[in-house]
């Protein structure tokens, strides 16, 4: 078929790295010394050191979850990674103060343009630490806090400590324990009662170094009646060796608050992306995860919401695209813990070539609750007969006053569709891209404009690369 790349895009957008001299380097491998080094460099309080060391013990004591997850996890050699790298920079408040090599990276990725165009605040993390962090002045005046987690711990311990590790306990899983031991970077956000942040806050996570593990830790608290949208983007260059990204993200929506968390990640295909994300929704609060996973070697991620207060709402909209040699193991968790709580899960996966998608869902509504509702839809699209998709929905609904709906479908982009589209002039890549975008269209319509454009672009890129 046609080999002409008709979509004129820079498909190597994230695939570059600059040689960088790191002032602080925890070295290769993971031990108590590594953890102590990180905590020393950061000048953390004793309770943080104790928290980290305890987490390291838990990490070592927990087996890999290969009894239910892929054996590919066994190929992660934890002794080969570097766990902390930084230039020792404080996050700059002015773009001009960002070190030149880091600035060049983010300029190439288009960060400053995005900030000017539509964001209320930006944080840009380079390997282990934030290099740039800035928020519009009017938001600081209203008491909004948006800083890196390192700064958050130092400057706002009274709020940080109250919620930190409460939604996702250290021992939740092996990788949340790992993150708790060596976390660095990520965002700390606090929105005061009643403050509605209209424009999104964005963080951009960039891995620059080889054999590196990025372990950002994000904590977002929306106080009563507050609203915020947070978006994260991620890239890494294509190195020969594997890279590990293992984040923990905790959200807390107090009474009547709304948090929307959007991820569009485009990891290169050597990245193990093992992320734990969960939110806690109090009375009448709403937490919505929009999660788009493109790229990586293996992604395991199941954003969840604990619906703790009466009338709380939780939603996960997820799109996963597994290209050749990639495995997207994604899904959602909805834990209903109060009456009249509702949850909605819509998951769409696309598998191309040898790509593999797995959906894992967990919906739990205990017997004593009333008026709870869940809707789960998972649709899979296969392109090419070698691709594979599995669905493991675990829905536990007890009691007579609760309702649940579950629908699943698998469809294929067929040769006649591609022929029809090509007969109208589209080359094979464009034809597949249009079919894939059609498949996810009803979901993408719910995304903010800028992100649906970005997602479409990434899919075009992926489809263009998959033919030919």
């Amino acid at each position: 078929m046609s080999t002409e790349a008709a979509i004129d895009i820079d498909r190597e957008k994230g695939n570059f790295s600059y040689d960088t001299d790191y002032e602080y380097d925890a070295g290769v491998g993971l031990s108590k010394d590594t953890v102590n080094y990180i905590t020393d460099v950061k000048g953390e309080d004793d309770w943080v050191r104790a928290f980290r060391l305890k987490a390291l013990e838990i990490f070592h004591s927990k087996p890999l979850p290969t009894h239910w997850a892929t054996k590919d996890l066994e190929n992660i050699d934890f002794d080969k990674f570097r766990y902390y790298l930084s230039k020792g920079q404080q996050p700059s408040r002015s773009w001009d103060d960002v070190p030149d090599d880091i600035k060049a990276t983010f300029e190439r990725l288009g960060i400053p343009e995005q900030e000017r165009a539509f964001l209320a605040g930006v944080e840009a993390q380079f390997d282990s630490e934030a290099a740039y962090s800035r928020m519009k002045d009017e938001l600081s005046k209203e008491g909004v806090i948006f800083v890196g987690s390192t700064e958050g711990l130092k400057d706002h311990p009274e709020i940080f400590r109250k919620y930190f590790g409460k939604v996702i306990p250290t021992g939740d899983n092996k990788f949340s324990a790992l993150n708790s031991a060596v976390f660095s970077g990520g965002s700390f956000i606090y929105i005061p009662p009643g403050v509605k942040v209209k424009q999104p806050l964005q963080a951009y996570f960039r891995i620059n170094a080889e054999n590196f593990g990025q372990f950002e830790r994000t904590l977002i608290i929306a106080d009563e009646g507050a609203e915020v949208t947070y978006m994260e983007g991620c890239t890494a260059p294509k190195f020969e060796t594997t890279t590990l990204h293992s984040a923990v993200v905790e959200l807390v929506a107090l009474k009547g608050a709304k948090i929307q968390y959007i991820t569009v990640q485009n990891w290169s295909s050597n990245v193990f992306n093992l992320v734990t994300k969960r939110g806690l929704a109090e009375e009448d609060a709403e937490i919505k995860w929009i999660d788009c996973n493109i790229g990586s070697r293996l992604t395991m991620k199941y954003p969840g919401v604990i619906l703790k207060g009466r009338g709380a709402r939780g939603e996960v909209l997820s799109i996963a695209l597994a290209g050749d040699g990639q495995h997207q193991d994604t899904g959602a968790k909805m834990i209903h813990a109060a009456d009249d709580t509702t949850s909605n899960i819509i998951a769409k996966s696309i598998s191309i070539g040898e790509g593999r998608s797995t959906y894992r869902g967990q919906v739990h509504i205990p017997k004593h609750l009333k008026g709870c509702r869940n809707n789960t839809e998972c649709d899979a699209l296969l392109i090419n007969t070698n691709s594979r998709t599995d669905t493991y929905p675990a829905i536990t609904v007890r009691g007579n006053d609760n309702s649940v709906q579950h629908e699943a479908s698998v469809s294929k982009v067929n040769a006649e569709q591609i022929f029809y589209l090509m007969q109208r002039g589209l080359n094979e890549g464009e034809a597949m891209s249009l079919a894939v975008n059609g498949f996810i269209n009803d979901l993408v319509k719910q995304f903010p404009m800028e992100y649906s454009v970005e997602l479409k672009r990434l899919i075009d890129m992926e489809m263009e690369g998959s033919v030919g």
């Binding site: 004129d8 022929f419 029809y420 007969q423 109208r424 080359n427 094979e428």
Partner: protein, 252 residues
């Protein structure tokens, strides 16, 4: 040179020969019709010219304004100027008609250039009006849940927007009631031009009451066996195909 020229084309599918030394020339400015019984290779001709993978070209040639289209990919044939109105238009879930036609037009532009959105919608709405298609259709998914008549009108809409040099309409009239048939025929007649050649493949003479062809060809067993003007179509309607078969048998 200014024609769609098919010479001694032999085409097979799964090693079964369908087109047998098929030859036909359609100069720009003319409308030709192919009629024939079921299974005689009419749709094979359309799909083989469009470059469908399932069809193997065993020998022969097909050129469009002198350009060899058999050597081209499906999308290249399309952009070179051949449009195929499908007998069974395909559903593309989630892709709106407006975006679909826009993508088709964009594929014809040089890299980096984009469609002027205002002019595009103006033209789209005016063509839709001519074809009696409600404006709400622009946001509906391509062919999904359309009635037979809606699908066929949508094919003609695409043809009108793309403005190909040569059009092949593969049984566009099948499954249409008389009102839809008239609208589709009007759409095709509107496309008639000195700069365009049109091939109408049909089972039924009734379409030719509305699209009056310059030539009518009867196709049997993979090739054209008899050609004439519109009166030939009327004769077929009246007498069926058997008399032509007998005629051929007699001349062999």
């Amino acid at each position: 040179m200014n024609d769609l020229n098919i010479e001694s084309l032999n085409v097979s599918i799964d090693e079964k020969q369908i087109l047998k030394n098929f030859s036909l020339t359609i100069p720009k400015g003319e409308v030709h019709t192919i009629m024939g019984p079921n299974g005689t290779g009419k749709s094979t001709l359309a799909k083989a010219l469009a470059g469908h993978d399932d069809y193997t070209i065993d020998s022969g040639s097909a050129t469009m304004d002198g350009e060899d289209i058999l050597a081209m990919e499906v999308d290249e044939v399309s952009r070179a100027g051949l449009f195929l109105a499908f007998q069974y238009p395909i559903e593309i879930p989630g892709v709106s008609i407006a975006n679909f036609i826009r993508a088709a037009l964009s594929s014809r532009l040089p890299k980096g250039e984009d469609i002027d959105a205002v002019a595009y919608y103006k033209e789209l709405y005016s063509e839709m009006e001519r074809l009696g298609i409600d404006r709400k259709f622009t946001s509906r998914s391509v062919n999904e849940g359309f009635s037979g008549g809606e699908k066929k009108r949508c094919e003609i809409l695409q043809m009108a927007m793309i403005k190909p040099k040569y059009c092949i309409l593969d049984e566009t009239d099948s499954g249409l009631d008389i009102d839809a048939l008239k609208i589709v025929a009007d759409g095709v007649n509107h496309m008639r031009s000195e700069d365009r050649g049109i091939l109408v493949i049909t089972h039924y003479q009734r379409l030719l009451n509305y699209i009056v062809p310059d030539y009518v060809h009867i196709m049997m067993e993979g090739r054209i066996v008899k050609s004439g003007d519109k009166s030939l179509a009327l004769e077929v309607e009246e007498r069926g195909y058997d008399w032509i078969k007998e005629e051929i048998a007699a001349t062999v």
